[in-house]
Amino acid sequence: MSADDDCTRVREQLMDFLKQELPANLAADITRHLNECPPCGDCAEYERRFVALLRRRLSGDCCPDAVRARVLDALRDATPPA
């Protein structure tokens, strides 16, 4: 398999890899390739930064206390499960 084929395959699997949804043996192959191939390494870093940005900036909001209280009130009044 040529180096270009490796890059193509790694780019295709990069999203699954970064979501940690690849089997360990495939993930190890990709880790190896990313360490050896600067353009693919940059590509992975770019995706990582983007996802980290969303996670860090947007996942901090909590349900306001007033809404929580409203929900608990509504549950108290709701028909209980059969």
């Binding site: 940005l53 809404v67 509504a74 499960p81 059969a82």
Partner: protein, 186 residues
Amino acid sequence: MTAPTRAGFDQEILPHLDLLYRVALRFTREPARAEDLVQDTMVKAYRNWEKFEPGTSARAWLLAILRNTFINAYRREKREPIPMDHEVLDAHMAAHPGEESDPEGAFFDKIVDERILKALDTLPPEFREVMVLSDVEGLPYAEIAHALAIPVGTVKSRLFRARRLMQTELYEHALETGIITARSGR
């Protein structure tokens, strides 16, 4: 098998209230509607609690109820079909926006929260919901597929396209505001 109880509901479901609220906020994009959606979802979940299968993902079950409730009752605007050019962008989307000028995406960190939110909120709803569940909330593919009632393959293709659309939007914003300078010439 134990009978479904309010205590069991509280234990399985209440810990996901923050997540539910955030997702409702991104689905509706309006706090007042998000609050109603959260309340309606919780009441519906409680009434249907006996249908929850113990051992499966409670948050995916809850998010599926949230999404159905949203689609049935709250979405005033019609859900538009995904425009064609979003489905056929693949060939142009192989490269990252800004690959030459900022290959590692350092510019992302310099973008303010409001602009990130705006880029997310202007994605087509089918893309936005996948992006929120995957990249903001960190759910695995299988739970997203369950929550949205779509195949895992569809989750992946929508996520891929959603990321490229949003990256393009943020990159163009970064260029316009001078956060990065496009490499010229060469």
